[in-house]
Symmetry: C2
Subunit: 342 residues, 2 copies
């Protein structure tokens, strides 16, 4: 039986599985330490298309199709798709999936979208509403910088607190068919606003939301951080990581020994001049699809808490003097011995 756990979590009775995943990324990511785990990396930032936006959609298309292919099921067996990206009106997702003829739930959770999509996918499967669904999220350095900050041609200086939006898409087939990776539960985050107004310091905007959802997750399930091999945030970067561990330490929760941040892992930040780290929906989505799931499937990691983090930045609200609130969603991903009861 599925059950409500604590204040804002769900524990699944029969945990859904991730039976296929794919990571597609761009030219900057090729030189990063994660590239070898990705299914496809492209030297061409437009992925053979005419614009960054169309390129991002092409990346979405490739990731979804590859995830389905790797899962071994047919596209016709996919009942729903939960997808989103950073662009206004989520055009990267829309144009990426529009010809697939799959009922669609469009999502916006900024860079936490991968967590939101996986949560709703797992909830849908565990409730018996579908046998197979897709969760997908993407971002693109070119389309995101153009929308949120400066034209790339302007070549603005980036402070050391800035992160670099990952060009990448991660797609996942969530299913009731058994595999080595299951989703045991989810904790849905609240919007948390500490009043930060610096669009070049996304880590500081998101860290309070990450701390809030991790704290609540541990409370709701009555577990300690050491329950997990890794607690993995999305794209806090170096600045956000420090704030997160400090905030949790103030609540007597120590994650310093097993915390990992996808934004810190995806680039060689000193060599690649990416400053605080990588960011964007595609950051946590590709690192999960490419690297983390392999570690869990092999059993090297038995349990991870995956916590994509989002900053609700908009140029409109930002220019009108508003803050940048954060949100984060936590997904309990665990190794599963095939044939064993969960």
């Amino acid at each position: 039986m599925n059950e409500k756990a604590g204040k804002q979590s769900i524990r699944f009775g029969e945990p859904p599985y991730i039976i296929g995943s794919a990571a597609v990324a761009g030219p900057k990511e090729i030189d990063g330490p994660m590239a070898k785990y990705f299914d496809r990396v492209s030297e061409d930032a437009t992925f053979g298309k005419d614009s960054w936006e169309e390129g991002e959609s092409e990346m979405v298309r490739q990731a979804v199709n590859m995830a389905i292919q790797k899962s071994g099921i047919e596209k016709e067996e996919i009942r729903y798709i939960f997808a989103g990206d950073l662009l206004g009106q989520i055009i990267a997702s829309t144009f990426g999936i529009k010809d697939m003829s799959i009922p669609t739930f469009g999502l916006y959770g900024a860079c936490s979208t991968c967590g939101e999509a996986l949560s709703l996918s797992a909830m849908t499967i565990a409730a018996g509403y579908a046998d197979n669904v897709i969760a997908e999220a993407s971002s693109h350095y070119g389309s995101a910088e153009k929308q949120f900050r400066f034209p790339l041609e302007y070549g603005n200086q980036r402070p050391l607190s800035a992160t670099w939006t990952v060009t990448g898409s991660g797609a996942f087939v969530v299913s009731n068919r058994e595999s080595e990776v299951c989703i045991k539960g989810v904790t849905t985050g609240k919007i948390v606003d500490y009043g930060v107004k610096d669009s070049m310091n996304m880590g500081a905007c998101m860290a309070p939301a990450a701390a809030d959802v991790i704290y609540q997750h541990l409370q709701d399930f009555g577990i300690k951080p050491t329950y997990y091999d890794r607690i993995i945030t999305g794209d806090l970067g170096k600045v956000g990581k420090t704030i997160l561990t400090d905030l949790l330490a103030m609540n007597n929760i120590d994650i310093s020994g097993n915390h990992m941040d996808c934004g810190i892992e995806i680039f060689d930040n000193d060599e690649q001049d990416t400053h605080s780290g990588g960011s964007g929906c595609g950051c946590s989505a590709t690192v999960l699809a490419g690297y983390i799931l392999k570690m869990v499937a092999s059993g090297e990691w038995k349990r991870v808490l995956f916590v994509p983090t989002g900053a609700m930045l908009s140029t409109v609200s930002f220019n009108e003097g508003q803050t940048i609130p954060g949100i984060a969603h936590a997904v309990m991903i665990e190794h599963h011995e095939k044939g064993k009861d969960v």
Copy 2:
């Protein structure tokens, strides 16, 4: 038992109920025929704030708080909120609900968002993941025109196919507590693209998606259009209504006798110079919260199919020469005699 129905629908075993709703709207809506059903209308388009965007957030805040109040439950009993709007990075929703401390799923389905939010809310309640959740959607004429078309000060001429974005927010408390209105099932729409590229003719962009989801809904549940007292689309307007009825007629489905469109009902289109009709997430959301639910609760209408319709318009994709695909989601809303089995 909840069950999958046909290709893209869900039939709920124990249908969730709508136990509270509220509609808040703006100055143009005051002169429309629906105004008398709304909970609050404001002469001030900024709702006492400094900008249209902040005004839209204020409208969201008021609608959500009023819906909770009318439902008779406490805010602390709300487990999740499903919300979205038309603005980039859904800032109207984010800033409207950020201080409520409720776990949040941000959605983007263009003007179909109310249907998407109600679908996910009903799925969440019927699965036992929560006792009470909120579904909410909003739009604002000022913030939407500024984002999607021309500055209002420019005073551009609007063709007769154009619709007028509704300034309004509708909020709903979906619950497992009995009320006179229940949600029997949902049909989730696919993105449908007929290649329309006219941003001043949203009706034509959305009608194929509405036809697709209505057709599939009737197939999935094995029912005829006459099962419903009304089949109610979101904001097709006069142009879209004609296309919808024609498209369905080509498939031998006649909805001409019981079709209604919120966009046609919300304004006195001839008197108010709103041309094809009203549009925006707030159009279907306020007409549902204010008018339709009263008709269903009283039993005047026993069954309605509520089908908010969205056009995936973005200035970026539009200016890059892309089409404007549509999406629509169908929600089966029925009168419930308290105390009777459903």
